[in-house]
Symmetry: D2
Subunit: 384 residues, 4 copies
C-alpha cells in the first residue's frame, strides 16, 4: 500500500473538483430527505476519516470542531446522536469555507499519519475511507441533480463531462451454460463486507443481453400503453405509479415536439439511441415483462460480467439484497456500513456514468429500494 497516500489525495481532491462550478448556495441544496447537500457530503466524508482514523489512531489529534460529529454523522448509531437527516440542508453555519478548512485540516493530519508508518489496520481503514468517499462522490452528483431538477430554471451543473451514456452498443446475447459458479470477492484488493464470503451457487443455463435498454426502446414501451397495463406490473409497482401518477422515467417531460429530460447539462431533447436512465426496479420489471424477458439475478450478472460491457448505468437485478453465506457483521461502527440495510432493497450491479473512476468491480453490490429512481439506473435483459 505504498502508493496509498497519492491515491488518497487524488480521491479527496476529486470531491472538491466536483463542486468547483457550484455557487455557494448550491452547496446547501437538499430537495428531499433521501438526498444530501454537497456541503454535507464534503463534510461527512471528512468526518469519516477523522472519526474512524485520526481520533483513535493519531496520537494527540485534536478534533477540528467538537460539534461536527453531531452534524456530520450519517447513520452510525455506534457513534452517537446525530442531526435529523431531513435537516442537513439547514446547516448554513458552519459555512462552506469552514468545511473546506476542515477538509484541509483532516488531509494534513492524514499526511502526518502516513509519516508514522501506519499499521495495516489503519491502512485498511484508510482504503475504506477512500472507497466511502467515492460512493459519496456519486451520491453528490445524483443528489444534486435531484435538487436542481426542482428549480424551474433547470440549472446546468456543468458541460465538461458526458453523463448521458454511451450510444453505440454491441447487440446480441451472451450464453452461459448451467453449472456451479463462484460468487463474491476473494483476494487482497479492497472489497466491502457484503461481497463476502466467496461461495458457490448453482445456475441454470441462461442468456444475457450485450446491450442496455435504450430510450427509444423505452418510449416504445410507453407508447404501447406500458404504464397503463396492470398485467405488466408488480402489485406494489402498480400502486406506486398510480399513487404518484407516473407515466415516464424520472426527469422526463413530454412536450409537443417529443420527449425531453433534465440532465446535468440542463434540459435536453432525449436521444432515442442513448441508454435509458433513472428508472425504478418496478419499471425495469414491467419493461422486462412487456418484452417477455426478465432481469438477471445478481449471480447471473456476476458470472456473465466479463462478457458484457457495463458501466454507464447501475443495472437492476432480480435479487434482493441479502447476506451471502457466512457473511459476518464487523464489530463496532464499521459493522453498520452494509449489513443493517439488508431488507426491502434490490441489488444493482455494474456502475454508472457518475461512478468515480476506479470504484467498480464485478463483485460490487449496490442496493436501493425498488421505487427509487434518482440514481443512474438502467435495464439489461436476460432470458433462459
Amino acid at each position: 500500500m505504498s502508493d496509498l497516500l497519492p491515491i488518497y489525495l487524488k480521491i479527496r481532491n476529486h470531491s472538491t473538483d466536483l463542486c468547483k462550478e457550484l455557487n455557494t448556495e448550491d452547496h446547501n441544496l437538499q430537495a428531499a430527505e433521501f438526498v444530501s447537500p454537497p456541503k454535507w457530503h464534503l463534510a461527512h466524508t471528512t468526518w469519516f476519516f477523522e472519526e474512524m482514523i485520526l481520533k483513535p489512531f493519531l496520537k494527540s489529534y485534536k478534533l477540528f470542531d467538537e460539534g461536527f460529529a453531531f452534524l456530520f454523522n450519517s447513520y452510525y448509531n455506534n457513534l452517537g446522536d446525530r442531526l435529523l437527516r431531513r435537516n442537513r440542508g439547514l446547516i448554513s453555519r458552519p459555512e462552506l469555507n469552514r468545511i473546506l478548512s476542515y477538509r484541509n485540516y483532516v488531509d494534513q493530519h492524514i499526511v502526518q499519519l502516513f509519516e508514522d508508518n501506519p499499521s495495516d489496520q489503519v491502512l485498511e481503514l484508510l482504503v475504506l475511507g477512500t472507497q466511502h468517499e467515492q460512493q459519496h462522490q456519486e451520491l453528490l452528483l445524483s443528489d444534486l441533480k435531484y435538487s436542481f431538477s426542482l428549480n424551474p430554471s433547470y440549472p446546468a451543473y456543468g458541460q465538461q463531462r458526458n453523463y448521458i451514456g454511451s450510444k453505440n452498443q454491441e447487440s446480441g446475447w451472451v450464453k452461459i451454460p448451467d453449472g456451479i459458479y463462484k460468487i463474491g470477492h476473494k483476494g487482497s484488493e479492497f472489497s466491502f463486507d457484503n461481497e463476502h464470503k466467496q461461495h458457490k451457487v448453482y445456475l441454470q443455463a441462461f442468456e444475457i443481453s450485450k446491450s442496455l435498454v435504450t430510450n427509444g426502446e423505452y418510449i416504445e414501451f410507453i407508447e404501447n400503453n406500458g404504464y397503463n397495463n396492470f398485467n405488466l406490473w408488480l402489485d406494489e409497482g402498480w400502486a406506486w405509479i398510480n399513487d404518484e401518477n407516473l407515466q415516464s422515467p424520472l426527469y422526463w417531460y413530454k412536450k409537443k415536439e417529443g420527449w425531453w429530460h433534465y440532465t446535468l447539462s440542463g434540459l435536453q431533447k432525449i436521444d432515442v439511441d442513448a441508454v435509458l436512465c433513472h428508472i425504478s426496479y418496478y419499471e425495469a420489471m414491467a419493461f422486462a415483462a412487456w418484452k417477455g424477458q426478465r432481469l438477471a439475478t445478481e449471480f447471473e450478472w456476476e458470472v456473465a460480467s466479463d462478457e458484457i460491457k457495463w458501466g454507464s448505468r447501475w443495472e437492476w437485478t432480480n435479487s434482493a439484497y441479502l447476506p451471502y453465506p457466512g457473511f459476518q457483521i464487523t464489530e463496532g461502527a464499521v459493522g453498520e456500513y452494509n449489513g443493517k440495510f439488508m431488507s426491502n432493497q434490490m441489488v444493482l450491479r455494474g456502475a454508472s456514468s457518475v461512478t468515480s473512476e476506479g470504484h467498480s468491480r464485478k463483485t460490487y453490490r449496490n442496493f436501493f429500494h425498488p421505487h427509487l429512481r434518482w440514481q443512474f439506473t438502467g435495464i439489461r435483459l436476460a432470458k433462459y
Copy 2:
C-alpha cells in the same frame, strides 16, 4: 380426482364451521385495512368458484347476484373494478344470511357441474378454489383475532381448539451437508405456481434447530434489552419498533405479575414453554442476531424439512419472495394469484396451528411483509 366432490364439500363446510360460534355482528369486523371480515371471507371464496368456474364452465349458469363481483373481488384486476379493501367491513348489506344462501347456491351448482363429467381444466380450477378457500380459512382466524384484540373485553373466539402451539419439542440440531439439492414442486399433487419449476440449488453445509423458539427464550431476549440494542436490528426494523414504540410481540401485555397475551381463547398468562408467536421478520432477525445465529433460507428449510417437526408456526426465512428459475405467470386472472406480489416480502415456510388440515407441504411458500405480525409466525434458528 374421483374423490374431489366430498373434499370440496368438506372444505366448504369447514369455513362455515369456523364461524359457528360467532355472533352476527362479529361477521363484519374489520379492524385494519390488512384484515377482512369473516363475512367477506365467506363471500369472497364463494365468488372465486362462481367467477372462475361456474360462470365460464356451467352452461346457462345464472349469477346469484350481479353486484357481488364488485363487492367480493379481492385483487384481480383482470376481473374488473372492486370495493376498496378498507371498506369491506362496511357491507352490512347483503346480510349474513344472504351470504350463507350464496354459499349454498354456488355449492349446489358445483354439485351440478360434477354431474356433467367436468374437464381436467375445470377439475384443476376446483382444486385451486379449495386451496384458495383453505388459505382464507387461516386468514379468517388471524384476521378475526386481530379485530377482536381491539375490543377491550378481549372476546374469546372459542375454547374448542388449541391454538397456543405445542410445548414439548425435541432439542438439538439437524446437520445437512453441502451439495446440490432439488427445490420446488414436481409431481401431480396440487401446488401453486410459485413452487415451480423444480430446480437445483447449491447449499453450503448448515445446521438447523429441531425446535422453534419458545416464549421463555424470547422473554430472555426482551429482558436482555433486546428491543433497545440497535446493533441487533436491521435498520428498517429499528426505525419500525421506534416509530411504533414496540417492546414485545403482538398481543403481549406486561402486567405486574408477568406477561400475558391475547389469544383466541381470551386473555391468558403466557406459558414460557410454549412456542413463540406473532413476531415480525425484524424481530426474528434481531433475536437470531442476539443468539449469534441466523434464520435459514427457504432452500435450507426445504431440504431439512423432512427431519424437523413443523406445523405450529409459520417460520420466517431469510429469503425474499422471488420467482424460481423458469417461473411463468399464467394468462388471465389466475396469473394474478402469486407472481405480482414478488417484491418487498419475505418467505415463510411450514404451517401454523391455524392452517387448515391438508393445506401444507414442504414446498409451500407463504410470504408477508417483514413488519407484519398478525399471522401465527415464529422462529427456527440455523447456523453454519
Copy 3:
C-alpha cells in the same frame, strides 16, 4: 317538570324507533372516525344517564356493566379513559341485544328515581340527558347516511319519512333595521350553556332571504364553473376542494341524464326545486360570493328568526363558534359539553329535517368545522 317522565320515555323510545328498520349488522357501521355506529349512539346516550344521574343520585344503584364506561364515554376527560373513537365500529360484543337490555335497565332505574321525588339538580340533568339524546338521534341519522353511502348498493334506510326538504318556499327578503338587539337565551326553558348569557349586540341594517338555496340554484353555480373559479373561494376552501377533487355537494353523482344524490331513501334523481343539502361552509361562502351576497352572522339570524321559515337545513352562518360575553364553563364533566370545542368551528343556526321534534329554538347554536358536509346543511343568503 311534572311531565318530564313521559317526555323522557318518549324521547328514549324514539331512539330505538329510529333503528327499527335496521338489521343487526347495520348497527355497527362506522365508515369514518367522525361518525359513530347506531349501536354506539344507543349505548352512549344510555351511559350518559347512568353516569351523570343514576350513579351519583340513585342510592344503591348497581352499574349494568363495569366495562361500559370505557366503551361508551365519548369525550369526557373528567370521566376517565375511553375507547379510541375510530374503534367504535369494532365493538361487536356486547351484542345489540345486550345494549337494548342496557337501555331497559337504565330506563327502569330512571323511572324508579322519579318515584323518589328527585331534586331540581337531578331534574335539570335529566332534561340535559334528553336533549343530549336528541342530538344523538340526529347524529345517528346523519352518521348512518354517511356509512351507508359507501356501500355500492346504496341501501335505503327507510321510506317512511321525507328527509329531502320542503320545496315550496316563500320568496323575497326580510329587512331588519340597525340597532341594539338582545342575543342569547334567557328564561326557564332548557338551553345549553353556550347560549348564555343573554347580551346586547349592535347590528347594522341588513336583509335576509326568506328562502333557502335550492338544488337548482346550486347546479347553476356548478355549471357556471363555480368549483373552478378561485376568486370565489376562501383560500383553505380552494385548497380543500382541490386536494379532495370536489366538484359538487356530498352524495351527488353526475350521470349522463343529470344529477343524482344518495338519500336515506336510496339513490334518487335530484329535484331542482328542493332545498340544497350537504354542503360545507366553504361551499356556502363560495356560492354567496358568486351571488354577490353573503351569509348572515349568527346574531343577524337570531334577530331575523321570527320572520323566516327555518327547519329543513342547518344554516351556515359567518360567525365563528366563540363564547358569549360572560360565558362560564361549568365545573366537572358537564362543563366539557360545549366550551372546549370553541375553536376552528363555525356556527350553524336553525334545524334540519333530521332534527328531533322539539329540539330546536332560535337561540340554539350548532357548530361544525368548515369543511364538514355530512350534516344536513344548507344556505340562506343575506345582504346589507
Copy 4:
C-alpha cells in the same frame, strides 16, 4: 404624498439592512413550509412592485427577468402559476447577487416613475407595496429565527437590537364602561382592506390588563401542571400539545439549572421578568383559563388601545378573523391580500419587537392559525 419616495427608499433599504450580517448560505434557509428564506423575501417584495406597479404603469418597462414571476409570486392566483411554497429554499439560482441587482433595478425604475408625476392610483399601490414590504421584514426575522433554531449551534442573528421585549411594565387594569364604540379604520392614512369599514359595536363593560404576561408567570403555569390539566384547554389545543408532545413555549429548553430559550442573539437563560413570547392561541387560552380570566376580543382591545402600552408582542385576541360589516374584496390580485384568509384564524392585535417602525396602528388586524407560535406572540389578560 410628496415625501413618499424617501419613505419608499428607506423601507427598501431596511430590508437589505436586516440581512447585512447574514452569510450567503443563510439567505436560502427554509426550515418548514410555513417559513420562507431571506432571499425569497428580498425578491418577492421586489416582484410585488414590479408586477403591481412597474409592469402596468411604467411605459416601456422591461421585466428584469421573465422567470421571476413564477419564482417569486407568493399566493396570487390572479397572477399565474407559481413555485410550490415548500420549494422556496431550493432556489440556489438565481444567486443572491442577482436578487440584489433585481432590487436595484426595480428601485431605479420606481425612482423613474416618480419623475413622471404618478397618479393617485399608483401612489396608493406604492404605499401598499411599502406596507407589504414591512410585513415581510417582520416575517424575515421570525422565519429566520425558526430556521436558525434547527441548527444545533444556535446561530446568533446579531447583537445589535433587543428583541427580548421590555421588562418594566405598568401594573393594574384599565376599566372600560359598556356602550357603543366605533371599530375599524377611517381616514386618509394607509390601512388594509380588512380594517374597513368602520362600524359600531356594542361592548359590555370590561377590564383589560395594563401589562403582558411575563416569562415568570408562565413558568408558574407550567410548574402548576398547566400542560397536563385538560380542563384548561380547548379540545383541539389539548390534542395538539399531546400529539406534538409539548410542555413549554416554542424555543424553550429545560436544563438542570432552569429554563433557557433560543433567541436571535443565540441561546440564553430566560429572564423571568421579561415578556413571554412564542406561544400559540391554545396556550394563551389555557393560561387565561388557569388564571380564571380571559383574552380580550379584538373590539375590546381596540377600544382600550389608547390606555395600554403595546408593541413588544402580538397579542392573541379571542376573536376569529372574519370580515367587518360592509367589507368588500377588491377586484383583481390586490383583492387576494386579506379576504381569502378569513377562516380558521384568530386575530392578533398590537405589534411586536420585530415589527418594522411605523408599521403599527390600533386598527391593524394581524391573524394566524391558533396552533402557530413562530411569530412574536404574547398574552394580555382581560376580565369582566
